[in-house]
Structure formats: structure tokens, C-alpha cells
Symmetry: C2
Subunit: 496 residues, 2 copies
């Protein structure tokens, strides 16, 4: 067996383990009775421990070198696969088993405490645990930095979004920082000239929302032979390409959030479904990073499903689903409901105009924490200052301030930028798709997503992890990522 | 670290892997969309491959020897744990990796073909696959026989029911073979003197059945903080002690089967819940074999939940659950409905009087197949002859004949005897429980299972795998397994 073939065999095994972990996590969030948490934690620790042993096996570095030496016998996909294997191996071997274990323990403890602290609105409760966790994350970042030849923050970022650097994020975020306040002010001014959306009253039960959600998935093109929709505390997508699990949550009497979550997660799901079939079970057959993943969910949610064309199509379906009556259920009011812009406290509730401000602030704060320039004790104040500066919003308490997101309390630093990189990529990809095929917009108006999905299959999904964010955008849209399409989209949707 | 401590660590890891496999199997049967089968098969193959590597690690035999040499430092539980570790190791190392792989492949293929062949009622379709699979199972039995010092069939039996031998099964089954025909004839004669049960008509929807099933679980003592009830094609119990998943299935308009399946699976579940807490994650902390497991489900289903006392208690709850009206919903008719005896074709639909005949016949056939005395091609005829001889029933087709059960087609030979050993043990344990505590029967009449569960906790559940079938029965009832209590039970329930 050649070194490369041996590597494929090993990474196929790792993919099986990762798939198993995915089912265990999904089940935890969706099905598991509360008493099962401890045993499930042990099962997951066993699986991740074995996966870590497999990828840090003493001979794996040699195999990578050997395969690299023979890489002239590999095709473009195999070479990209080998590159992605090496990246994963470098991340895994950069930190020793003791640090892995300490990080797992500290994240679990901090996340558990965070739940209580958030509930009690008491940041002091979680401060020591987050301080300890941050120290370990910085250790990890330093260790990876040395091995990967990246700055500590870039080393963290690279594990979520291969190849994306902090300097590139700065370049893009600085533009947003400059342009967003004016854009937001203009949008709000224009919005104030129009009537506010009126509350929708009807038979908006969870069951009716579920049925409409499943109809929406079907319209977009989700085949329930290969996945399912369930309920969880926070919406998410999990699973493998032929078995994709998406979730949403239902508020009795309000369908707006649940339905948009379904469109968002269906975007993630269809990306997974469209990944290259020939490369299933190999690193290059997986998604090309979290920014691209988020671009696919936001393209579906923000670009396609809030387009005028699609809202015209879905408005009568929504009215029927909830036995809605009267003028509030017409296109105009639905349109306003789905496009309300408002500077607020909570990231996950933010609209597409104010959302980037939340991410900019978090990115600043986490970079300062990783650099050692911001202490955990000073986080609540820095958060409040940040939100006031960027959105003019006062933070009334830490529960809705620096304790609102799970990421840092679970040890995830370097993830936040991918949300906004994804939003920008979504706008850029959608614009390119539109420009290349007239039938896409027309299709959305008829509930026919096939033209859009065909474009995405060729230009995004089918690449797997072969191309990173900028390379894929260059290939698909003719230019690397920029803020231009996003700003043009906001102008067109809210100011034209 | 001592050799014994090292072994505990390794077997804890194996337990985590087995727990993960359990979730994956449950999800497959209950939640997974059909398209996920191939990926799930790969995930399970990876996990079982890793588990096989861990238990056949080259140094594990030495560790077992070393721990054995130091066994004077171990307490009774640790020694029993060590014995069970060695048994598992011996089973795993007896067959080489190539045979394991060939068996996995051949069972999967045969089982898949069986589904189609059964559907098409065409035994010829599956005959070659079953022939090939049987050859491999015989190879496995021979290999285990050599290592374990057991006959080939006993070596298979031992993997489901540690320590139980074919000669012991013969002894017990020969008694049944002798006594059952007369017992059945007398039961049917007596039954013919009474009115037949009348069909129950009411609002017997799946949803109402589910609600009543959950109520029944609650009455028996199942805490839904530590488990859940779902639907699957065949009822089963899976999971770990703090996260037990049971399933049933609903026939619209007929609750008898679904409700009894719930009581049966709840019996399995409470055995798991009651296993010794101090030994979680270790072999000795698991159940003491499949016969004991079945004794706990049948004790609940056949002994407790079909007792006069309990039917009196549950009759009004059943009537209310289905908005039943009139005399058919009274105790008398329910009682008759739940105790109908009838010689039939299908094992899983059989009553407690005719069930053993199905098992006797299957045990004869599988022993002959393993011994090389019965060819697969001759199975349909042997099946038809067997059922006619034992129950006087004619087999109209192979679908409802030798293709009705999945076991052999999935490679499980040596499992069938445990159903009837379990039924006999259930009767013997229930009689001993009754004799030792008057409040048990009284409790069943009030829907109070606490006295019964307390007796089972002390006398069965708490032993884990420390005692095998006969040793546990001797400890709990004063005598090893016999047919006496079962026959007395049938006499008392159907002939007194």
C-alpha cells in the first residue's frame, strides 16, 4: 500500500469516528433524557481520545512526508486531500495529551458554570473558570503558533477556517467598521418613514410551524430520505451528507424565528448534501471551513428566503398554514416583518444590517484576550463599551451582555469572525449567481430552487475543502472576498 | 498501576465504545432516515473494529495472567470482574480479524437479502447467503470450541449466556418436551369451556396507546429522567443504566400488543437501572447474560402485569385511556383477552403456554445446523415438520415459517434457548418473591411495584454479572433453574 493510500484508510476511520460523535452530540441535544449526561460525556471522551490517538500516531508524520515526496503521482484532489490531512495532523500534534485533557475538562466545567451564572445573571460566578480556561486556550494558541508558523490568534482561527488570517479579517472588518454606522443610520431613517410591521395573529401553534417548516425544506430541496427536522434549545445542523439532522425551536404564537431558522439550517444541510460524493469520508470531501458553511446558510436565509420573489411565493403558504386572515397576512406586512432592522442587545436575534457590529465587537474582544491585553475581569465593561460604541445600545446586565453566547465559555475563541465573513460571502455568491442565470430569481418567485441549487452545486458545494474561502470566491465570483456585494445588497434591499 | 487496575481502565474504555454503539443502533432503528444506512454501517464497523483491536491487544493476555496471579489481593467483585474480562477476551481472541470481517460482511448481506426474501416469500433467494453465513458461523464455533474447551454449540451459547451449557439446556428442555403437550391440551380444553374474549372497541389511537404506555412505565417505576419510550419496527431495549431507551409499536385499534411490549421492555429497562452502581463501566457491572435479562422482562410482562391483581388495577385505566364503554371493558373480558392461549405460527405473537414449543424447535434446528446434521436447503421442511410435531400447526409458507425470525440471518445461533430459560427463571423468581413477601401481590393490586422491585433489586439486579443463571437462582430461590415453577404457574393461572 502506498503511503497516500494508507493515509486515506486512516482518515476514513477518523471520519467514521467523527460521524459517530456527531450522532452522539445530536442525540444529546435533541433526544437524551437529562440523566444520561454523565455517561454520554464518557462515551464522547472515549471517542475523542481514540481519534486523538489515531491522528497523532507516531508514524503518521512519516507517512505524510512520504506521500508528499510522491505527490507527483497524485491528482489535484488527492494533493488537496493530503494538504488538509497535514493541516489536521499539525493542529492535533501541536498540543500534548495533557493539555488536550486539561482543555476538555476546563471547557466542560466552565460551560456548566456558565449556564448557572447566566441564569443567575452573575458574571463573578463564572469569572474564575473562564480565567482558567482562557489561560489554557492561550497555551494552546501559543503551542499551535510555534508549530504552524502563525500568530496565536491566527492559529485558533485556522482550526475553524483553514487559511484565513487575522490580517485579512482586519482588512475586511475595518471597511465594515467605517461604513456600517452610516449605512445603519440611513436604513433606520428610511424605515421610520414606513409603517411598522403589525403583529400577526393566527393559529400559530408549534405543530403548524413544524408542518410549514417541513414544507419550506421540501420547497428548498431537502430530501427527507436523507435527513430530518427536530427541536432543540438552539437551532443547529449535524450529521453526515446522507443523514443530515437539522433543528429549530418553536415559540407559541410567533413563527418568524422558527421558520427562518429552518431556512438557515437547510442552507447548511444542502451544502453537506452537495459535497463531492467521490470524496466522502476524506478530509477534502468535507466543507471548506466555517465561513463557507455560514455563507451557505445565510445565502439561503438572508439572500434567497428574504428576497421579494420568495416572500411573494411563500406569503400565501404562511397565511394558510396558520389560518391567517386579513391584511396583516399580506405580502407587504410579511415583508416588513421579515426585514425589520433594529439595533439590539442579542446577536442571535439581530437582523442582517446590525449583525456584523456584534461580530466586530466580539472579534476585537477575543483578540485582546488571546493577546493578553484584556483580562476576564474586565470583560463585562469592555463589552458594554463596545456595544455602546458600535450600535449605541446600553447593556443592562451581563446575562444579555457578555454571557449571552456560549462560545468562549466552551473554549471557542477564533470562531466569531466566520459569521460575518460568511454573511459577506453569501452576498457575493448570491450576486454572482443572479448575474449568471436569470432563471434563479424567477425560480425563487415560483418556489423553484433548482436553478439556484445547480449554480451552488457547481460553484461552491462540489469543491469540498479543495478551495479555501478566498480561492473559492475568486473561482466562483471572479474576485476574492470583499464587502462590496454585502453593501450593495443592503443598499438595494433597504434603501432603493 | 497494577495489572488489575490497568485492565479496569481498558474495559472502561470498551464500555464507552459499547455505549456509543448502542446509541448508534438505537438511532438507526428509531430515528435515522433511510438514506443514512450506509454511513451508519461504516461508523459501526469503525467502532466495532476499534473495540476488537482494544480487546485483542497483544499485552492483554499477560495482564490477565498477572492480575490472576495477584488475585488474593482482589475482593469478590474484582475477582468476578476479572473472570468476566477473561471470558470476553477469550471469545474475542479465539477468532482472527479476517474471520471477524468475513462474518460481519456475510451477516449484513444475508440480513439484507432476508428482508427481501421474506417480503417475496422466497426462501431460495436467501438460501445461498445463509449457507455461506452458516459455514462461517460454524468456523467461528469450531475456533471458539478449541480455545474455550466447550463444544462448538456451547461456545456460541456461552457468548449470550455465560456458563450455560447445551447439556443443561437439554435437561430442562427435555422435561418441557415431555410435559408441555399434555399441559397445553388441558389448558385449551378448559379455555373452551369459557366464553371467548370479545373485541374491544374504543378510541384506540396510537397516541392514546402511547399515553397509557407511559403511564404504565411510571406505575412500574421507570423514571423518564433516565430513559424514554419510542416507536420501532420491533420492540427492544437499548442504552446504558442512566439512559435506557425502550420501544414499542402501535396497531391502530388494538392496544394489547403495544401495552404488553411496554411492560416487557420496562422489565429489561429496570434490570439495567438496578445494576450495581459501583461497577458501572466494568464487565461485572453488566447483566448476567441474556437468560437473566429475559427473565426480568418476562417476570414483568407475564408474571406481574398479567396477574389478576394487576389486571384489576389497570382495567379502569385502560378503559379510561380509550374512552371504552360497556361490559367488554370490564376486568373479566380484559383478563380473557390477555390470557388467550392458541397454538400459532409466529413466535413473537405466542402466549406463554405455547411459546416454549417455538423455542424448542428452533433450538433443535440450530444445534443440528451447527453440528452439520441439517443443511440450509432442508431447513424449510424441517421447520414445517417441527411445528407440526410440537404444536400441530401447519406451516403455509416460508415467510411465516423459517423466515419469520431475524436471528440466523443475522448470524445469531445459540440465542434462542435464552428466551425459554428466561421464562422459566421468571416463574421461579416471581414465586420466590411472592413467598418471601406478602406485600408484593397486594402491591400489584394497588399499582405499587415498590415491594416487587425491592426484592428484585436485592436478589437479582444488584448482582450484575457476578452470578450466572443457576448460581443466581440458587442464591435467590434456594434451587437452580427448573421447570417446576413455570408448570405450577401455568397450572395455577389456567387450570385452577
Amino acid at each position: 500500500m502506498s503511503a497516500y493510500a494508507d493515509l486515506e484508510k486512516r482518515f476514513r476511520r477518523l471520519s467514521g469516528l467523527a460521524g459517530a460523535e456527531g450522532v452522539l452530540h445530536w442525540d444529546w441535544a435533541v433526544m437524551m433524557p437529562p440523566g444520561g449526561a454523565e455517561a454520554r460525556g464518557e462515551q464522547l471522551a472515549v471517542l475523542s481520545g481514540i481519534a486523538h490517538e489515531l491522528i497523532t500516531a507516531p508514524d503518521l508524520g512519516d507517512l505524510l512526508d512520504q506521500a508528499n515526496a510522491d505527490s507527483d503521482q497524485l491528482d489535484i484532489w488527492q494533493r488537496a486531500n493530503l494538504t488538509e490531512m497535514r493541516r489536521r495532523w499539525a493542529h492535533a500534534t501541536a498540543i500534548d495529551a495533557d493539555l488536550v485533557e486539561a482543555l476538555t475538562k476546563a471547557s466542560t466545567e466552565c460551560e456548566m458554570t456558565w449556564r448557572d451564572a447566566r441564569e443567575a445573571n452573575d458574571f463573578k460566578m463564572v469569572e474564575p473558570k473562564l480565567t482558567r480556561l482562557l489561560a489554557l486556550v492561550r497555551q494552546k494558541a501559543d503551542a499551535k503558533s510555534a508549530v504552524l508558523g502563525l500568530s496565536p490568534y491566527d492559529a485558533l482561527l485556522d482550526s475553524y477556517d483553514p487559511g484565513t488570517k487575522g490580517a485579512r479579517v482586519d482588512q475586511i472588518f475595518d471597511e465594515l467598521r467605517q461604513d456600517l454606522p452610516d449605512l445603519l443610520a440611513r436604513v433606520l431613517e428610511r424605515q421610520a418613514e414606513k409603517p411598522a410591521p403589525q403583529k400577526l395573529v393566527g393559529d400559530i401553534t408549534p405543530e403548524n410551524q413544524r408542518r410549514l417548516g417541513e414544507r419550506l425544506m421540501e420547497v428548498i430541496g431537502f430530501d427527507t430520505n436523507f435527513g430530518r427536522l427536530d427541536v432543540s434549545h438552539h437551532p443547529f445542523t449535524a450529521g453526515v451528507p446522507d443523514d443530515i439532522r437539522i433543528t429549530t425551536r418553536y415559540k407559541d404564537g410567533d413563527f418568524v424565528e422558527s421558520l427562518m431558522a429552518v431556512s438557515h439550517e437547510t442552507g447548511h444541510a444542502l451544502y453537506e448534501r452537495g459535497l463531492p460524493k467521490d470524496w466522502r469520508g476524506q478530509p477534502v470531501g468535507e466543507a471548506g471551513g466555517m465561513s463557507l458553511h455560514e455563507s451557505q446558510s445565510l445565502l439561503m436565509e438572508m439572500q434567497a428566503c428574504r428576497s421579494e420573489e420568495f416572500i411573494s411565493f411563500i406569503a400565501p403558504l404562511i397565511r394558510d398554514a396558520f389560518s391567517g386572515e386579513g391584511v396583516t397576512w399580506d405580502f407587504e406586512n410579511l415583508h416588513r416583518t421579515y426585514r425589520r432592522v433594529e439595533a439590539g442587545l442579542i446577536r442571535v436575534e439581530a437582523d442582517e444590517v446590525t449583525y456584523p457590529a456584534h461580530v466586530l465587537m466580539r472579534t476585537d474582544l477575543e483578540r485582546a484576550m488571546i493577546a493578553g491585553d484584556l483580562r476576564v475581569a474586565d470583560l463585562p465593561g469592555a463589552w458594554a463599551d463596545g456595544l455602546k460604541a458600535l450600535l449605541g445600545v446600553m447593556v443592562p446586565n451581563d446575562r444579555d451582555g457578555c454571557m449571552q453566547d456560549i462560545h468562549w465559555y466552551g473554549g471557542d475563541f477564533g470562531y466569531f469572525p466566520t459569521y460575518t465573513l460568511g454573511a459577506l460571502a453569501a452576498a457575493q455568491l448570491f450576486a454572482a449567481a443572479h448575474a449568471s442565470d436569470d432563471s434563479i430569481a424567477a425560480g425563487l418567485g415560483n418556489g423553484n430552487f433548482k436553478p439556484l441549487m445547480a449554480w451552488l452545486a457547481t460553484n461552491v458545494h462540489g469543491f469540498g475543502a479543495r478551495l479555501g474561502l478566498d480561492d473559492l470566491l475568486t473561482e466562483a465570483t471572479g474576485a476574492p472576498l470583499s464587502t462590496a456585494a454585502y453593501k450593495a445588497h443592503i443598499e438595494a434591499r433597504y434603501l432603493s
